[in-house]
Assembly symmetry: C2
Homo-oligomer: 162 residues x 2
DNA sequence: TATTGTTATACTCTATAACTATA
DNA sequence: TATAGTTATAGAGTATAACAATA
């Protein structure tokens, strides 16, 4: 055992435990309002995921959605059918490959996803607002370096940093 | 607008945005292995939640589980039946009120939940290990004050801090 | 022949309603 | 009369298999 190895290892475990506890708290607390909103809109979780996928992804094929959602093609086909029937998505023939259908979000679908997404963000905001100034400042300082990572920065919604 | 209000408000929004992005990253990344383990064990999400409830809660009635899981009593009754059949939970008559059944975790059920829980923690640990030393130190410093909050400290598993 | 999407079928999970047994 | 739990039934969502259209 090296003296220099101990602190880093301790920080890994300490940070893992703290991060786990925080994540569980956020999922439980902020997730409640999220699930209520999803239910209020009469959506299922896979449908919400599909809307989120389409919101970032553009015009996707059933196959592409099936791969990224981890659902069978028939399940996606039927799910998309439901979204189209409710006016949240639209289906168009692909001119380049007529076997494919291209699924896109309608304006209503986009609004619906944003509504769900806003409720989730509001849950996180409520948590942040519940913190003491010192706690919030410390948390902000701890998160700031992580936001430089592209894989995390990519998850910031478009107009959020304005 | 007061000059002192602006920084705090800015920190709330900045922190909310960063926390949202981190939470989404963790749910997506660490959640993947979690879902794989749940599937590998042939469990559904409500079953996992039920195991978690029983793990902390002790001997619960169907009614109590129904309330806390947000599921109907018949759904819980059948779900528990499945857990009992698989040897993960046990059902006993309540001697004080013979209308009630008391549901508890078996040793196998406890091991099963810990297995699922460990995979989730491992996902968080992998993220923490992926960080640079400076990032990890900063995150640890940012989380430390939050761990003083009882509602978050309560979510730390029993033997985790040893 | 291979691939995309849909339809056919069966299974699981859920909720509401009706029922049994206790209180 | 009210409550805890189960059973009956129906609806939503899923997967596998079989099929149609296109490449």
């Amino acid at each position: 055992m090296h003296a220099t190895a101990a602190p880093a290892q301790a920080t890994v475990e300490e940070t893992t435990i703290a991060l786990s506890a925080l994540a569980r708290h956020l999922m439980g607390e902020a997730g409640r309002g999220f699930m209520r909103e999803v239910e209020r809109l009469g959506l299922s979780m896979p449908q919400v995921k599909a809307l989120g996928l389409l919101e970032e992804g553009g015009a996707l094929t059933i196959k592409a959605m099936s791969d990224r959602l981890g659902l069978s093609e028939p399940a996606v086909s039927r799910g998309v059918e439901t979204l189209v029937r409710r006016g949240l998505a639209s289906r168009a023939d692909d001119p380049d490959d007529r076997r494919c259908k291209r699924v896109s979000l309608t304006a209503k679908g986009r609004r619906t996803f944003e509504s769900v997404s806003d409720v989730r963000t509001a849950g996180f905001r409520a948590f942040v607002e519940s913190l003491e100034d010192a706690e919030r400042e410390a948390l902000a300082a701890g998160l700031r370096p992580l936001m430089q990572r592209p894989e995390i920065a990519a998850l910031v919604p478009e107009g959020a940093s304005r």
